[in-house]
Symmetry: C2
Subunit: 178 residues, 2 copies
């Protein structure tokens, strides 16, 4: 995988990443997008099923339509690149009866968002959208699931956001739940 010259520690990357909803008009070079997708491709998946699929959208009309499909989140169309993150799956479930594909696609997307941060790019996980509408816009077959939309672009405001999170003591237990 090609690497960016400027090193960003993984912890730093995680701390720096924020949800970006306003983008510069500046385009994202093709080779940068390729690096992000390659990072997604490296993700682990249940039984290495690799159910993730990505539709990379740059066309302005398509992006506008996606913005409208994203439940009023029209900022989506402002990003020069929108990746529709999908799953081509037989709806395989794990022993715990859980569907594999939402988790596996999420891992790939997380890789993409973290690498985007290291590239100086901003992203935003968009889970609120009309799936049928997105499928119609992008010609995605009925049997494919659209898991997230991911706008990718240079953030208008590059400053790190403050994260509001529950304290560790609220989310971590030791040895037993109770």
């Amino acid at each position: 995988m090609m690497k960016r010259s400027e090193n960003l520690d993984i912890y730093e990357t995680i701390t720096t990443r924020k949800s970006v909803r306003e983008f510069q008009a500046k385009d994202v070079p093709e080779e940068v997008v390729a690096r992000l997708l390659e990072a997604g491709r490296m993700a682990p998946s249940a039984s290495n099923r690799q159910e993730w699929r990505f539709v990379v959208v740059r066309d302005l009309q398509e992006r506008k339509a996606l913005g409208e499909a994203a439940c009023g989140q029209t900022f989506v169309s402002q990003a020069p690149v929108v990746i529709a993150c999908c799953a081509e799956t037989d709806d395989h479930r794990m022993a715990c009866k859980q569907l594999c594909y939402p988790i596996d696609v999420a891992i790939a997307i997380d890789h993409i968002t973290l690498c985007a941060t290291a590239e100086g790019l901003g992203t935003c996980w968009i889970g609120a959208f009309d799936e049928d509408q997105v499928k119609q816009i992008l010609g995605i077959p009925p049997e494919i699931h659209v898991v997230e939309l991911l706008p990718v672009g240079y953030p208008a405001d590059p400053s790190p956001a403050e994260k509001h999170r529950l304290p560790l003591a609220r989310i971590v237990k030791y040895e037993r739940w109770k």
Copy 2:
């Protein structure tokens, strides 16, 4: 967030990460586990709902029981730390009708696995387990979902694994699916 002195680029981290199923007897220091959990805590989630919960297990008897609950993947108990990754959720769904919690817990776990790699640790996403059995072992209430088990330890074989992945052309489409 405390940082590890040795810098590992995010791309490098993603390429280096592998599923580890054999661990050294060496323990994982508490402060390292704390850094991993902190990285999980920094994850984004739908509407910042932060539904992820973690039960950190070091007790050998509990680990053995978890290994047995993991559908024969007894290597799970070999790791000095096993994290039961759960969701405390009202089963909120996005506009696309998708459940939020599997994706949001997966993002947090991905942060943990990548930081573990940077710390020289190995992990393995375990989605195959008997959820009722895991809940019984760890005293997890019925309304909580167990999403993954995550063994964490120093890998017996620290060499990077070769990843077998579909080519980019198979998983990426441009502008439209078809």
